[in-house]
């Protein structure tokens, strides 16, 4: 009798756990779609973002971890400003395809049409700011790592990007309408982590900030 109960318990556990596992996997599939759609819907309500950031570079080419601080501004549809305030002073601002970049001593204009690297960087930043789901899904395999707060893992699909980038981790704020952490893990194990602080959504931003 006791043997039968043990067998029955094993059966219930095996089948039950199987059902729970499958159900969880199906739920996860549904969850990622639902989460992405929710993020997309919330992003559509965002007209502008102003945020400070702190960037942590753990690169093998540097003796020490370098922490830099700066500011990130975004205004729909395609205005960007990304600048470092310490330990270096440099950055770029962009309006459409035309941009300007600066250091402590220089200031030069550029066009995304003639600067492939800036084009890639700007395309990524704009995709995150507007949560361009179509573009992101085309470029990355997206999985949900955690749902509170939402943490997405993005593995590049194209061999071109995958050659240098292993994956990205993106964490959204609990209000889910802004990104609060981005981690870039490259193929050599180096890490760049960007933490966004004090985000302000839909505050008026002056045109001059993007020129």
């Amino acid at each position: 009798m006791g043997r039968c109960r043990t067998l029955a318990l094993h059966f219930i556990l095996t089948v039950g756990l199987g059902i729970i596992f499958c159900g969880h996997a199906l739920a996860e599939l549904r969850d990622i779609d639902a989460v992405l759609q929710k993020l997309r819907a919330q992003a559509t309500a965002v007209e502008s973002i102003s945020s400070e950031f702190s960037q942590e570079n753990r690169l093998s080419v540097f003796e020490e971890t370098i922490i830099s601080k700066g500011r990130f501004l975004f205004r729909k549809p395609d205005n960007l400003r990304w600048e470092y305030l310490s330990p270096i002073t440099e950055g770029f601002a962009l309006q459409g395809n035309q941009g300007v970049r600066w250091t402590e001593t220089t200031r030069t204009s550029f066009s995304l049409r003639n600067d492939p690297l800036m084009n890639v960087v700007a395309r990524q930043l704009l995709a995150w700011a507007t949560f361009d789901l179509a573009w992101l899904s085309a470029e990355y395999d997206i999985t949900l790592e955690a749902d509170s707060p939402v943490l997405l893992k993005l593995v590049p699909k194209g061999s071109d990007t995958a050659h240098v980038l292993k994956h990205l981790l993106i964490e959204f704020s609990s209000s889910a309408n802004t990104v609060q952490r981005v981690e870039l893990h490259d193929q050599s194990g180096d890490l760049t982590r960007i933490l966004f602080k004090n985000p302000q959504v839909n505050t008026p931003l002056d045109d001059g900030m993007f020129r």
Binding site: V61, M118, V121, Q124, L165, L184
Partner: protein, 787 residues
């Protein structure tokens, strides 16, 4: 000898039924054959095919990067043109006639491109570049370069740049990258998200390859219909412009076909009208049938000789209608009126008129046979076609037609009464000849000859406008001069290519110069570059490493940060082949600038088609470099010269032949000069008209000159022979009608849209018109012959 035609008439007269059946069957067979002919509209048949420079230049011009390729410009106002281009490209790829469709550079150019490119630097950097290496290893530059690297590694793009910076902290890539720019100057294009886009971002470019030669008219029609089908896939509001040789071929073939559908029926209708309005005789229909049969027989015979027939030559069928009817008309008028004299049987009449017709046909054949000495295959084909036509017409008129013409009953018309007056002496005739010759020579010297093939083909305004727009958007990528080098091996061709590049650099040729030499030097050049690289780092490697270590420590770089660079400059570099460029994803550059031609390899340099560059590449320089300079402007110049020589050769031969034949026939200098007068007037009038309207003589004007010579000779001979023939033959009437019929044939050609057919029409219209007027009124006046 001329009794033969009288005897032949007597022999065939009882067999009229058999003759009729034979003629109907032969004409039906020929018509059937002609209707199934392969008609070619290839303009290359109108180029000299001798072993001279023109043929080889034309063959090489066809190898130019954009000669065979189709370029499509896509615009989409208010939307992304690249997206529309991609939609069109997808539709084009579904069409089997297109072998390759490119909307951007090959997609395998990766983020790792720079790290793959750098190992090629030792074999690529030339003597001039080596000097730049000194500047890169200068302590000041090392410090600033490392500071910049640090900034770049802290920026958002660091992930893509890290490996490049580790391998090349000093920026050697900046010496190599401009070498890639040289081939990309082919068009004024930039790359945006993997698409070829114009500088203003309003247009996207698609490059399309097809295996169908651009001179194949049937293939070109297939290419165009496939393109039209694909264009339907474009989103609403998007537009596409196609530029390419296939479009021209299709437009020309279409224009010739359209012209033929108007010219041939119109010529037949006009001829029929002349016969019906002025001759008002059922038998005149038989005369009308002669040129119909002649075109069929001549087309069949020409196709049997050549395997196919040029559309331009076939278009000349309308012209032949006008010539071939001359002999039939002469026979018709002579036989119709022979009943007035009871002693004059048809056999006698034929014997009487056959010398003039024979000599007329002989002079026409001589003038047309002169075209056989031309270097241009299309003109030779025209000569064969016309010769078959004249010979057929001659025999049909003298052997077959007389059996279907019966003498008119009743008296002669008043026009047959002869009124004679004293003929002018030789002096006025010689004076007139001197005037005509002087005018001819003067106009001949002052009339330009245009060798530009583009003006001989039909270009609709829509195509012209789109070509102009394409040139404005992408630059003159199709109008570059080319320098070809040839060798049995690929590396041999690259060696010569390197010499051309050095020569152009040393002599400050007009830029931009697009060459493979900076990107893919020959093995010998690569070995020299590698040797220079090794020497440099042997001398400067240690000091650079020390400098780097000091600066990297000061800026917080790790000890191993630039170890890939140290390994790179310490390694023993190797030469590379075109395969390495293939791995880099830039094989396209090699494919555009290097190619196979039979067993040989060709390498190609492109440069602006300027007079300075043309002067630089003199015959001597070409020989020294083992190269051939080919350009559109030089080609047109060479073709103009060749045409001038061709004109002199066949016009001279035609004139000499005709003069000789006339001298033999008349054995009288005065009569010979009289008979030749229509020719002189005809040719001089053509030259005068061309000069007066500021027109240059093109290939087709020139082709028509021997026809004027032949026809003018016919008219001259008929009119000078007239007093020696029986009064009833109505020679003037025959000449008038034959002139009218010829002018009708040519008059229709003037309506043609195709410049070639139009040129023939306008030339012969003026030339034959003048020759006819001279023959009908000037020659009899000078000959004292009035009827």
């Amino acid at each position: 000898m001329f009794h033969l035609f009288g005897r032949a008439y007597a022999f065939l007269a009882p067999r009229r039924g058999f003759l009729l059946v034979f003629c109907v069957l032969a004409c039906f067979a020929c018509s059937l054959f002609v209707s199934r002919l392969v008609v070619r509209e290839d303009i290359s048949t109108m180029l000299p095919d001798d072993s001279g420079r023109i043929a080889s230049d034309f063959a090489l011009l066809r190898l130019a990067p954009f000669a065979q390729r189709l370029t499509i410009t896509v615009s989409h106002p208010g939307a992304n043109p690249a997206q529309a281009a991609e939609t069109l490209a997808t539709a084009l790829r579904r069409e089997p006639v297109f072998t390759r469709v490119l909307t951007g550079p090959p997609s395998n150019i990766s983020l790792a491109f720079l790290t793959k490119l750098l190992p090629l630097a030792p074999a690529l950097l030339n003597e001039q570049d080596a000097k730049t290496l000194y500047a890169l290893t200068d302590s000041e530059h090392v410090q600033s370069a490392l500071e910049q690297n640090r900034r770049d590694l802290l920026s958002p793009g660091a992930v893509a740049l890290k490996n490049v910076i580790r391998q090349d902290p000093l920026g050697i890539r900046n010496i190599v990258l401009p070498k890639l720019a040289a081939p990309s100057r082919l068009a004024d294009v930039r790359i945006e998200n993997g698409h070829f886009v114009s500088r203003d971002g309003k247009h996207a470019l698609i490059l399309v390859d097809t295996d169908i030669p651009m001179t194949d008219s049937l293939g070109a029609a297939k290419v165009m219909s496939s393109y039209e089908k694909a264009v339907a896939a474009l989103p609403q509001g998007a537009q596409a412009m196609l530029v390419g040789g296939h479009r021209h071929t299709h437009a020309n073939a279409q224009a010739i076909k359209d012209d033929l559908t108007i010219i041939l029926p119109s010529a037949f209708i006009l001829l029929a009208l002349i016969f019906l309005l002025f001759m008002r005789n059922r038998q005149s229909l038989y005369v009308f049938l002669v040129p119909v049969c002649v075109v069929g027989v001549a087309g069949t015979a020409t196709a049997l000789v050549y395997g196919s027939i040029s559309g331009i030559v076939l278009g000349f069928g309308a012209v032949l209608l006008g010539i071939s009817v001359d002999y039939a008309l002469h026979v018709y008028f002579a036989l119709q009126n022979s009943s007035a004299d009871e002693n004059l049987t048809p056999a006698h009449t034929l014997t009487q008129i056959s010398p003039a017709i024979t000599f007329g046909a002989l002079t026409s054949c001589t003038a047309l046979a002169a075209l056989l000495v031309s270097d241009i295959p299309g003109i030779r084909q025209l000569a064969v076609f016309s010769l078959f036509g004249i010979i057929t017409s001659f025999f049909m008129s003298l052997l077959i037609l007389p059996h279907f013409i019966t003498a008119k009953t009743g008296s002669l018309t008043s026009t047959t009464h002869r009124r004679t007056r004293k003929s002018f002496g030789v002096a006025p005739l010689i004076t007139l000849w001197i005037a005509v010759l002087s005018a001819g020579i003067w106009f001949g010297q002052h009339t330009r000859i245009n060798g530009d093939l583009r003006e001989m083909s039909f270009t609709p305004t829509e195509i012209q406008a789109e070509e102009d727009a394409t040139r404005t958007i992408w630059g003159s990528m199709r109008d570059l001069a080319l320098i070809f080098v040839r060798d049995r091996t690929f590396d041999g061709a690259l060696e010569k290519n390197d010499r051309v590049w050095s020569f152009l650099q040393a002599h400050n040729a007009t830029s931009p110069i697009i060459s493979l030499a900076p990107l893919l030097p020959a093995m010998q050049t690569q070995r020299q570059n590698i040797s220079r690289w090794k020497t440099f780092w042997q001398d400067n490697g240690q000091s650079t490493r020390t400098l780097l270590e000091t600066e990297q420590k000061a800026l917080g770089f790790s000890h191993s940060a630039f170890s890939p660079f140290v390994e790179f400059i310490s390694a023993s570099p190797e030469t590379f082949s075109s395969e390495s460029l293939h791995e880099l994803g830039i094989q396209e550059f090699v494919d555009v600038l290097a190619m196979r031609d039979g067993d040989d390899f060709l390498a190609l340099t492109l440069l602006p088609d300027t007079t300075q560059n043309a002067a630089l590449l003199s015959d001597y320089a070409e020989r020294e470099l083992g190269a051939q300079f080919v350009s559109g402007s030089r080609f047109r110049e060479l073709l103009g010269d060749a045409m001038r020589i061709d004109v002199l050769r066949f016009s001279g031969s035609a004139l000499a032949g005709v003069v000789l034949l006339n001298a033999i026939l008349f054995r009288n200098p005065r009569k010979t000069l009289l008979a030749l007068l229509p020719i002189g007037m005809g040719v001089t009038t053509v030259l005068a008209v061309m000069y007066s309207f500021g027109q240059a003589l093109n290939l087709f004007h020139i082709v028509s000159l021997p026809l004027i010579i032949g026809l003018g000779a016919d008219y001259g001979i008929f009119m000078v022979c007239r007093p020696e023939q029986s009064a009833q033959h109505q020679t003037a009437r025959a000449v008038l009608f034959s002139g009218l019929t010829t002018l009708c044939g040519f008059g229709v050609l003037v309506l043609a849209r195709h410049p070639a057919l139009h040129s023939i029409g306008i030339t012969v219209l003026t030339g034959v018109g003048a020759a006819m007027i001279t023959a009908l009124w000037v020659v009899p006046a000078l000959n004292g012959d009035r009827r």
